[in-house]
């Protein structure tokens, strides 16, 4: 059948949304390295979108630039998605391993990232009457990524189409739960940290005399 380089496989998957993932699965291909680069690029795309969009389209508050929300919205969300999906679908006869879910999901993000970069690029050359070009590129990329993501989940778990949609909805719910627990955990640990820190300062005062 097909023989591609790793990047060739990526291209094949993106441009063949129907059978691309099936081929990938059949051939047991897909590179973890590339998928990690893609996730990193997602983060970069978000930063670029915030910082480099043309002035007349840029609604962000430029006085403060905080990278943490962007980091959470890209990288943390992605891994939460992977973990939630794996945790949920292993319980419902899904065949995907966590590695494959990660790789397949990351591949699906590429059109969105490219769309974002392109729309940011042209936003520096158009006026607001022509904003439709920017939006078309952005939303085509987004829609394409959604289609690919559905295909990725369907293939990796060998689900039927309705079951795929259902699993995606429940994955989103599971993500919410995970993030909620994460926030809870962080705040609890923060209190523990504050407790220990205050004991430490107390002790240092005592020893110093």
């Amino acid at each position: 059948m097909y023989e591609f380089s790793e990047l060739g496989w990526l291209k094949h998957v993106i441009f063949h949304p129907v059978e691309g993932y099936d081929d990938l699965r059949w051939k047991k291909k897909g590179s973890m390295k590339i998928s990690m680069v893609i996730v990193l690029l997602l983060f970069v795309a978000m930063v670029v979108n915030r910082q480099l969009t043309g002035f007349q389209f840029n609604g962000s508050y430029v006085k403060i630039f905080n990278v943490v929300p962007l980091f959470v919205q890209s990288i943390v969300y992605f891994f939460t998605w992977v973990i939630a999906n794996w945790a949920l679908c292993t319980l419902f006869n899904g065949e995907g391993t966590i590695k494959r879910i990660c790789i397949y999901s990351a591949y699906a993000l590429v059109p969105y990232i490219v769309g974002t970069f392109l729309s940011v690029f042209i936003s520096n050359f158009i006026v607001s009457d022509e904003i439709v070009w920017m939006n078309v590129i952005y939303y085509v990329g987004l829609g394409w990524s959604v289609v690919l993501m559905i295909q990725a989940i369907r293939t990796v778990h060998q689900y039927s189409f309705p079951k795929t949609l259902l699993s995606i909805v429940f994955t989103l719910v599971a993500m919410l739960v995970i993030l909620f627990l994460l926030v809870l955990l962080i705040s609890l640990f923060q209190q523990v940290y504050v407790f220990i820190a205050s004991i430490y300062t107390e002790l240092t005062y005592r020893f110093r005399g």
Binding site: E3, S5, E6, L7, G8, K28, F55, Q56, Y61, K63, F125, V127, S128, D129
Partner: protein, 542 residues
Amino acid sequence: MVSRMKKHIKNIISVGLALSITVAMSLTAYAGEPYVSYNYDAWGDAIPSQSGYRVDETITGYEMELDKLADPKSDLFVSETEPTNLSGASDIFYEKNTKEFWIADSDNDRILRTDSNLKVIGCYKGVSNSQTSVDAETGLSTFSNPTGVYVNIDKATNKPVFYVADNKNARVVKAVAESKNSAKCMFEYTKPDSELYANASRTFNPSKILVDSAGILYVVVSSVTTGAVVFSETGEFTGFYGANRVEQTAAVIRQAIWRKFASNEQIASMTRNVPVEYANFDIDSEGFIYTVTEAANASTDAVKKLNPAGENIWNTATGNEYEFGDLPEFADCDTSKYASRLTDIVVGDDGIINLLDYETGRVFQYTQDNDLLFIFGTKNGTSDQRGTFTAPNGIEAIGEKIYVIDGKKNDITIFVETTFGKYVHEAAALYEKGLYEQAIDPWNEVIKRDGGYSLAYYGLGKAYLNTGEYDKAMENFKVSVAKSSYDRAYKYERDDFLRANFTLIIIILLIIIVAIIVLRKLFKKGIIKMPKLKKKPEKEGK
């Protein structure tokens, strides 16, 4: 020993630092305004700004020479017991032709008339020729808590004709000033017995009044929520003018939904949602009436500019944003949150609008385009500093001066514009007339004094847009975060660029197309080969 030396040096350094800091602080503590001047930047954040106005002087009854009223030797003598101070003064009016101030000294039940330096030249305790609330001794129909005053000059006799909102006597008096302390009543506007005014229980206690150039009288009555009560020139009640709308709060919307399902009996028992009446108004030279609503944090119809038909020109629904007073998110130096309560409005020269906030004692100055120019004045609990207010009741603007009358401190504070303020006003006036290029110099002077004044950058941007210096315009619009204007400048800039470099662009495009065709041909013939990516060796044998 060494450690002790170190400690010594440390002490000396720290004492030195502390000293230098205190010296520096004492140097900055010169006599300025008793508040921090601020303005809003393009993001809606409050930022420190230069003062546009400074406190010039405060005028009390002493400076007004009100003791003349109780001095038998003076020609202004009224009576021995006449109060020599203001008390609860609630309105100040400037008559432009004769350059006189008229002050409603409410708690002393009198109208004061002063010259342009606020020296008293007349006092009216009441009017003759009227039967309402006649004083047994003097035979005058006395005022009782007059809260509003408006003055015209009678063109025939050249005598001032003044209107008084005689609050407790439930009437508006139109009187002609015969001499320094006697006035003859010309007409009395009382509670209309018209069907339209309806409701016998509805009171008629006028608080503020206004007369337009046609002699039509507008009266703000605190119990009337359907707008100002209007009387024709002949004194007939003709209707209401420019009512506020009901503010769409969650409670109002909820009740509107409930009404759909409720029975008639239930509806009858519900409270009615009526709009808030406005607190004060002013009229400009073109006959537009500006109203202000004092309700706390009113977002609907807080400030309106009404055309003669009673329609609001500053209508947010038409697509423009109109915001007045402090922005709700803004937290002052003291962190307590407060609600703006705009109590008076006055339109000064060049259509500049001054709003007085009762809650914070601040004056907000706007252009006709709703661009904020300055914020000045403050409220102070101890109220012993100049430029602070306890109960700011009225505001008047004459030329470069702003007069604020305080009903508890019983004084009048005069603000005068600073050099910075002068440049801003000059530039804003030119800008308003559309003379953008001429406004460049004053705007630059403004930026020299306050680099954070974003209206100046916007004005400069407009000017450069007109002169065709689009790159400069873009730069200035960027600083003032004016996106749509930036967009326009960028469009012209891009058009210029394309026009100038059209041939170059076409040539480059042609070269690229030719190159692609040639390369393709070469590929096909196999003269050059595609560099191939190295294939990874398969990890698992199948």
